[in-house]
């Protein structure tokens, strides 16, 4: 696959196409590709899921271990989200110290999960002030054809849904030979998903292919859920790249985001465990 940078030609064509509401694969600008979710990608993980969003593929695994609580949250379990842009997934990813995109991806998923209170961290205490469960989410893109953050968010919540708390042996350590049966304590009705809106010229679009993503001038990642089944709530936001966003852009996003979320959740529910 090519690492050739985007040409002015293609950029200008995309500008015109988007202004006319057209995309190379025939989708509308605010239309997400179809996706699939598979489970049990890695049997040693407490939970794992693979999402294929178009040709983009992301695998997320959940591991749990016994740890000590953070000093400012002695009555809660811990959550840690990591990940890397594996050089496997794209001719643009290199080995070595992580570039910004590699740092940003897990942090955005972390904020989405944490701020939405999807996991009831209070119920992950083993001995208050001393021993708690640490939930470790690891995100690995396997093939980058755009929208890695969005795909990763779906894989993360699918993996969390499937995850089971490990059994402890009599020494209070995780017993790797037993398979856990208790689900992670999740707060009901909170399934956050991230959507990244991109801007090219005056057009807003979501779920780009890698080609479209490379042409984009601006972006903003928004994490949203239908909070406790009552109302839509935005849990996280981060604007990226150089181009500015206008008030009209934000208003437009706030109008379309809830329906986008509902549609995606509907598709996802068919896969959830």
């Amino acid at each position: 696959m090519s690492a050739m940078n985007l040409s002015n030609l293609t950029y200008n064509t995309l500008l015109k196409m988007f202004a006319a509401g057209k995309r190379f694969d025939g989708r509308k600008l605010l239309e997400q590709r179809d996706f699939t979710v598979e489970y049990d990608v890695s049997y040693k993980a407490e939970g794992s899921a693979r999402v294929k969003l178009g040709k983009t593929e992301v695998i997320v695994g959940v591991k749990m271990d016994v740890g000590t609580p953070y000093p400012d949250s002695m009555d809660k379990g811990n959550l840690m989200v990591s990940g890397d842009l594996l050089p496997l997934a794209s001719p643009r990813f290199e080995s070595g110290p992580p570039k910004f995109n590699a740092i940003e991806l897990p942090r955005l998923i972390d904020r989405m999960v944490r701020e939405s209170h999807m996991i009831d961290l209070n119920k992950l205490v083993i001995t208050e002030g001393e021993k708690v469960w640490t939930v470790m989410i690891d995100i690995y893109p396997i093939n980058d054809d755009g929208a890695l953050i969005d795909a990763a968010s779906i894989a993360a919540i699918a993996a969390l849904q499937q995850a089971r708390i490990p059994e402890l042996n009599k020494d209070g350590k995780v017993d790797h030979d037993k398979k856990g049966t208790k689900k992670l304590p999740l707060n009901e009705g909170i399934l956050p998903i991230s959507f990244t809106f991109y801007k090219l010229g005056d057009s807003l679009f979501i779920d780009p292919t890698r080609e479209e993503e490379e042409a984009a001038d601006g972006k903003i990642v928004l994490g949203i859920s239908h909070y406790k089944g009552k109302e839509h709530m935005i849990h996280s936001a981060q604007k990226g790249m150089d181009a500015h966003l206008s008030t009209e852009d934000i208003t437009e996003m706030m109008k379309t985001l809830p329906k986008l979320y509902d549609d995606t959740l509907k598709k996802l529910k068919k896969f959830l465990k």
């Binding site: 696959m1 890695s42 695994g61 591991k63 050089p87 997934a89 470790m136 690891d138």
Partner: protein, 234 residues
């Protein structure tokens, strides 16, 4: 008393193998290979430009292998990032694969092979080599042959084929010996030979002979995965 394998396999029986190519569309070539629950994926990028320039070889392409475990592929989560172990495996894998490649055709370039283990139940480096071999072929790299790899174990006094986790930790009698081996599919050219444990010298050729029989089967699996591309279109 012959060793009774925990999963009931015969001494010279491998776990079921699954092989598939094209699993990473962005890569020039890619493949997945499994030994039972051990799952390896490999992606090849190249030949491509090598930076920095001083690393280039004016006579041939450089083969660069990066092997690693995904954090959650093992029971005790592995912290992300290369470990000493993965760096060593990356290097021996490079030495296992390069004799099969015609690197002189692409001077001043690099061929990057990325191997990741999605699920680990021992024998991960040999699963990785089998996957990488198919990925290199699919990438159109000129090759002398495919490379086949398998682990041969010795459990107390018995030689076994395709070691799994439980067997790796066997401690009775002479304990567990693990021998990772790889060879060009069709010639007597061994490119990976590693050993950990206790084995009498005269048994070593017997271990290689066991591997030889395994390679014939592994080669068929690799070939089928590469040739299946036609079946899909029919």
């Amino acid at each position: 008393m012959t060793f009774k394998r925990p999963d009931g396999r015969k001494l010279d029986e491998m776990r079921p193998m699954v092989a598939k190519i094209g699993v990473v569309p962005n890569a020039d070539g890619s493949a997945m290979f499994t030994f039972g629950k051990t799952v390896a994926i490999a992606a090849v990028y190249g030949p491509r430009l090598l930076h920095p320039q001083h690393m280039q070889d004016p006579k041939a392409a450089i083969l660069r292998v990066n092997y690693d475990l995904l954090s959650f592929s093992v029971a005790d989560r592995k912290k992300p990032g290369p470990s000493r172990r993965s760096q060593e495996i990356s290097k021996v894998t490079e030495w296992a694969l390069s004799p099969a490649l015609d690197l002189k055709e692409f001077p001043n370039t690099v061929i990057d092979v990325q191997i990741y283990i999605l699920q680990a139940n021992a024998s991960t480096r040999v699963a990785g080599i089998n996957a990488a071999s198919m990925a290199l072929a699919q990438a159109g790299i000129p090759m002398k042959d495919l490379v086949c790899a398998v682990s041969v174990g010795k459990m107390d006094k018995d030689l076994v084929l395709d070691v799994n986790d439980e067997e790796e930790h066997f401690e009775d009698g002479e304990g567990a010996t693990d021998m990772a081996t790889a060879r060009l599919a069709n010639s007597d050219k061994w490119t990976l030979l590693q050993l950990d444990g206790k084995i009498q010298p005269e048994l070593y050729p017997k271990a290689l002979s066991m591997a030889d029989k395994a390679f014939a089967k592994i080669y068929e699996v690799q070939k089928k995965a590469l040739k299946d591309v036609m079946e899909e279109e029919k």
